[in-house]
């Protein structure tokens, strides 16, 4: 078994129009820049994107939005000082937004990966973001029913991988990577380093290879 693919083209092969794609990262930390640029070249359109944010500046996710490839974004914090690409598309009605509290976003992703059908979360109860959702009083506390977010693909960034797809991350760039890897049918990982089997200490592997389908090495700063 060898999950290492030779380049971005092979890594992103088969991403279809209309796909739901999770993209890792919190701001720039953990954002898989090369995979996003590769996705723009690859050409898939009409995409639903799941990310914590909605792009900064003109590169990465913002460039994907600017290329008009995205119909809907599910995120917790789209508005930033330099989120002007998102802002413009959202105001003109060209981009649908599903706003989710960050912890519910994370748990909905985790639930998908864990095979959970839905869960009751206390977050957001009594707020605009719970309007229209089922609620339940459990042991004196109010909860909102939240459903998992499944994805066709996840594009994430890790520091190191081996050919079985075992991953370790770097610092706070880990963020959404491990749970998105669980939630997608096909998880595509860009790494700075590919190492031999056995080089990753089994006690510290963060994402076991079962959650990873393809690994591509990029010339990152920690290569």
């Amino acid at each position: 078994m060898n999950k290492i693919v030779p380049g971005l083209r092979e890594a992103l092969a088969g991403i279809h129009d209309g796909a739901t794609i999770m993209i890792g990262g919190f701001g720039n930390a953990g954002m898989p820049r090369e995979l996003i640029d590769g996705l723009i070249d690859q050409g898939a359109t009409d995409l639903t994107i799941v990310n914590n944010n909605a792009g900064n500046g003109d590169t990465g996710l913002a460039a994907l939005l600017a290329a008009r490839r995205v119909k809907k974004i599910i995120c917790s914090f789209p508005r930033q000082a330099d989120s002007y690409v998102f802002d413009g598309l959202y105001r003109s009605g060209e981009l649908e937004l599903e706003l989710t509290p960050q912890g519910n976003l994370a748990e909905r992703i985790r639930a998908a990966g864990a095979g959970v059908g839905a869960f009751f979360s206390p977050t957001g109860y009594g707020t605009l973001l719970a309007e229209g959702k089922e609620t339940r009083l459990i042991n004196g506390k109010n909860y909102v029913l939240e459903y998992p977010i499944h994805a066709d693909f996840a594009l994430i960034k890790a520091l190191k991988a081996d050919r079985w797809g075992n991953l370790v991350y770097r610092k706070a760039a880990r963020n959404f990577g491990p749970i998105m890897a669980m939630a997608a049918k096909c998880t595509i990982v860009q790494v700075d380093q590919v190492v031999e089997l056995g080089e990753l200490d089994p006690e510290v592997i963060v994402t076991p290879g079962i959650f990873v389908q393809r690994v591509v090495k990029v010339n990152g700063v920690h290569a």
């Binding site: 917790s76 914090f77 989120s83 509290p101 912890g103 707020t127 991350y169 491990p178």
Partner: protein, 212 residues
């Protein structure tokens, strides 16, 4: 009227954080609290993006793109600190493991409802981030804010007019005029700026207050 400065408010909050506490400081005014924590006491700062034991900003040219706080500014990790993924990070909040979180606010109601994520403008681009998870998750929620808006309206209100972040979640309010506990028996004033009287504070606040 004498008012507490932002640093005085932050210092007052810092004094109320016991050694060994797990604490999340929200974006904006609450981040000032970190500068006032007594370095001889160990307090664990949590950052929603997967850090416990967060340290101060790095020296110039030591910034690391992979080590940032919730506001996406560069930070450091203290010796003994840890990284973890987002579902674990928000389990720390929702699961009630954080002792204290300190948040900014547009409004706090006398029942402790919090409004701090949406200014209510119909054309505003909404963004919530971790605000709602923090509001309902920590054992105690401290709010740091100016007592009044720029137009002189009280930010402590009967009922929030801005969209809510969480219901009945705030424990204590620190403002430039007072420190106020939200209790089952209403709002209890623990401290006021020098020279201010309870009736004067009550008039400025527009809600019933009692002395501790």
């Amino acid at each position: 009227m004498k008012r507490f400065t932002r640093d005085e408010i932050a210092s007052r909050v810092a004094r109320d954080i016991p050694e060994g506490s797990y604490v999340n400081l929200g974006i904006g005014l609450p981040t000032l609290v970190a500068n006032h924590l007594d370095p001889s006491r160990e307090v664990f700062l949590h950052s929603e993006n997967g850090i416990l034991g967060m340290g101060p900003a790095p020296a110039k040219d030591q910034e690391d793109e992979d080590l940032i706080n919730a506001g996406k500014q560069p930070v450091t990790l203290l010796t003994g600190g840890a990284y973890f993924h987002h579902a674990d990070s928000f389990s720390m909040m929702r699961g009630g493991h954080l002792d204290i979180c300190v948040l900014g606010a547009f409004q706090v109601s006398k029942q402790g409802d919090l409004a701090n994520w949406h200014a209510g403008a119909p054309d505003a681009i909404p963004a919530v981030g971790g605000a709602m998870d923090l509001a309902i998750g920590a054992k105690r929620v401290f709010v740091m804010m100016e007592h009044q808006t720029k137009n002189g309206e009280s930010k402590i209100v009967e009922h929030c007019t801005y969209p809510l972040t969480g219901m009945a979640c705030v424990s204590r309010i620190y403002t430039d005029l007072a420190v106020i506990d939200i209790t089952a028996n209403g709002l209890v004033v623990l401290e006021m700026t020098e020279g201010l009287t309870l009736p004067e504070l009550e008039k400025l606040s527009g809600v019933p207050l009692t002395a501790a």
